[in-house]
Amino acid sequence: MIKLFLDTNILLGSLISDRKAHISCLSILLQNNISLVTNEYVIKEVRKILEDIYSFDQQDINRYIDFIRTKIEIVKTPSKEEFKIINSNDKSDRPIIFSAKKHRCILITDDMPTRNNAEKYVMALGSTEAIDIFNIRLVKEPIKFAKGKSL
């Protein structure tokens, strides 16, 4: 069974205004055909960035994290002992690469250095490649998507 491990940039990419990146990331997040996995380290990072760096509305952050928890399997952050087998140029990527490997996932990240570091251990793809390879249906733009709700 194919499982996709989503890096932080994919979860945050679903919110940004770059149309192409936004639609790819959101489509991966909202599809229901492929299992999605991430770890607590990524969730912590998402929360920290939305709260401390971008000062998003606190209630919306909580709702977004709750939503992620319903859509994605969140695995434990590995210990330092576990991820020491990962040799990466950027040590802070190791918990992510290790979790993707441990849970037999394909790592989805739009960060090229992380992707290059990960490729020794797991298959790694960018969001637009994942859309093409797994034939994921693209969602509409958020404005249309939200309007659909009131139909």
Binding site: T8, N9, G13, S17, D18, H22, E45, D57
Partner: protein, 89 residues
């Protein structure tokens, strides 16, 4: 928004099943069945989610968050979070 009609193409088998539910009195018409089916699916897909994404997207727009900016900020936060979680190597 006012009510609007939508056209849906279904297989003969699906229509037959819907018709049997209408005949059994569970739904008044085929439209009634489809409306219930849509309502059920919309409830399951968490109705507040589209609004949430719209609000988050607006906030990101106000802050001019681009993919490059996010990648840069993640990189900075990740270094700090790593040290906070696992200590210095």
């Amino acid at each position: 928004m006012d009510n609007a009609s939508v056209t849906a193409r279904l297989t003969g088998k699906e229509i037959k099943k819907i018709d049997s539910l209408v005949t059994a009195g569970l739904y008044t018409t085929r439209s009634d069945f489809l409306r219930h089916a849509a309502m059920h699916l919309l409830r399951e897909e968490a109705p507040e989610i589209p609004d949430l994404f719209l609000r988050l997207h607006d906030q990101a727009k106000q802050k001019h968050l681009t993919k490059d900016k996010i990648l840069k900020d993640i990189h900075t936060v990740r270094q700090g979070l790593y040290e906070e979680t696992f200590g210095d190597d």
